[in-house]
Amino acid sequence: MKKKPNLSKAAPWLSAIGLFVLWELIVRIFNIPPYVLPTPSESIIVGWQFHEAIWMHAVHTLYTTLAGFAIAVVFGVILGALVGSSRAIYDAANPLLVGFNSVPKVALVPVLVMWFGIGTVPAIITAFLISFFPIVVNVATGLATLEPELRDVLRSLGATRTDILVKVGFPRAMPYFFASLKVAITLAFVGSVISETVASNVGVGYLMLSASSKFNMPLVFAGLLVIAVMGIAMYEIFNVIERRSTKWANRGNQTT
């Protein structure tokens, strides 16, 4: 069962390296020019060359992303709890939420810029706006699919709605919640980066736009790689938290 833990640890690295090698080979074999698709090696070299600037931009993007994401988690859980535990709120809020979410947030950035000026605030808000929806949906689904047997345990004790939510709703919805966090954090990155491309003088989004205007596609892809790495890092953090807090739901994996 606990076979080959080393392979398991190495797997992500192997697959990442595999992808890079494949990508490098494709670009070289088909002789794809760098302004269409640079090789990963070029991107990494150029990225290293500019590593100080990238670092500064990346820190900024990380900050805006996390700020927006944090708001999204709080807001998403509250709204998800409301939507998931009351039919009326579900009926009223859902179409609006869905409609809002079908809209590309990039179209709203100009409006935000008009109100909050260029830079950090619109990026945080965009990250928030783009990432709260999956949390709402999953938390609501987790609550709505709560087994009635478990709910009855609480109800038979005369528990209030809040009690039920806190004692069985949320714990039961945890796997759903974590699944949505993984989606949401990646979206939050997308949100802050696109906001930076629309109006900012700092952040990876700005860096990428600026690089692309100078035909420096390797630097654009270096920016993409940096975002990807930050996304993975955040994801892994949630993964660790998830494994600790939803052991019970994943108990079946011991035997596979």
Binding site: Y35, I118, V198, A199, Y206, L209, S213, F215
Partner: protein, 314 residues
């Protein structure tokens, strides 16, 4: 009939109407060409679209092409036809900001997208007017944010194409009289502007078709200059959402300021003058900061140029 994919530099706006008119009037058909015209996303995209072979021909800023060649020397491309003999690069200020001459820009904030041609060439403007690069700070923003930010006073000045920003500002209720405009061409900067590029494959294997294409383009411009309203009609067919009056104005401005110039009246459309181009390359090299400057022959070729008669504007 040969199929040609043609990418514009920008969306379907007034200055794009002559090409659409050419197609509508069958000028390309006459040359045995089946031309598809797609909207573009700025010069950077227009250049890479052709460089990658996704498009056969595109319209793009020749100064950006110089920059492209500098970073991709082994895939350098050449412009084959100049459209904007005098480009619309400009800076815009509100009169009430008190800026009347370039020196007044010191310490001010300028807004534009990073990829805006006028912003990219600002170092050349600065050196031509004796400013230092760090005399101004730039705020980066999406194109449609520019004019509102100027009007609201979030920035002191913006850069942009003359015919784009002046009309956008008009839409915000700002008239020409409220504005101070520095057009780069009025400050001794004798650049060329947007021209047509062709893919390496086209240049190598389809010289005749290219020549035919260019003939069609000139015919389109000629027809548009003679009757701009008909060009706007052709435009409206492609994009029903345009405001015809506004685009007519934009087209007229492009014709008057950028296309119909003393040089083109004399020599017809398309050509560049070697000494003027060489000077422009010097300034571009300065603006973009690269050492090994290309020669004129490296960025422009007239081998596909139609005969002088076929290039006459009027």
């Amino acid at each position: 009939q040969m199929a040609i994919k043609f990418s514009l530099d920008w969306k379907f706006e007034g200055p794009a109407a002559p090409y659409l008119l050419a197609k509508k009037n069958g000028y390309f058909d006459e040359e045995g060409l089946d031309v598809t015209i797609d909207s573009g996303n700025g010069s950077v995209g227009a250049i890479t679209r052709v460089a990658s072979g996704a498009y056969d021909v595109s319209l793009a800023d020749i100064n950006s092409l110089v920059e492209f060649n500098a970073s991709n020397p082994d895939r350098a491309m050449k412009s084959i036809f100049m459209v904007y003999d005098r480009p619309p690069f400009s800076l815009f200020m509100l009169k009430k900001s008190g800026i009347t001459k370039p020196e007044d820009l010191v310490g001010k904030t300028l807004g534009a997208p990073v990829f805006d041609a006028s912003r990219k060439l600002y170092p050349a403007f600065a050196s031509a007017t004796g400013l230092k690069l760090d005399d101004v700070t730039w705020e980066s923003m999406d194109p449609p944010l520019r004019e509102p930010m100027l009007v609201r006073g979030d920035v002191d000045a913006i850069s942009g194409h003359y015919f784009t920003s002046i009309l956008n500002l008009q839409a915000q209720g700002v008239t020409k009289d409220d504005l101070t405009v520095f057009q780069y061409k009025d400050f001794g900067m004798d650049f060329y502007g947007n021209g047509l590029l062709a893919s390496p494959d086209m240049m190598e294997n389809h010289a005749e078709e290219l020549r035919g294409f260019l003939r069609g383009v000139v015919k389109g411009w000629r027809a548009a200059i003679a009757d701009p309203a008909s060009a706007i009609e052709a435009l409206k067919e492609v994009d029903p959402l345009i405001d015809p009056a506004l685009e007519l104005q934009r087209l007229q401005m492009a014709i008057d300021e950028n296309v119909v110039t003393p040089d083109t009246l004399e020599n017809g459309m398309g050509l560049v003058k070697t000494d003027r181009m060489a000077k422009a390359i010097d300034q571009v090299a300065l603006a973009f900061g690269f050492e090994n400057k290309p020669t004129v022959g490296d960025v422009f070729t007239d081998i596909f140029m139609p005969g002088a008669e076929d290039r006459k504007i009027k």
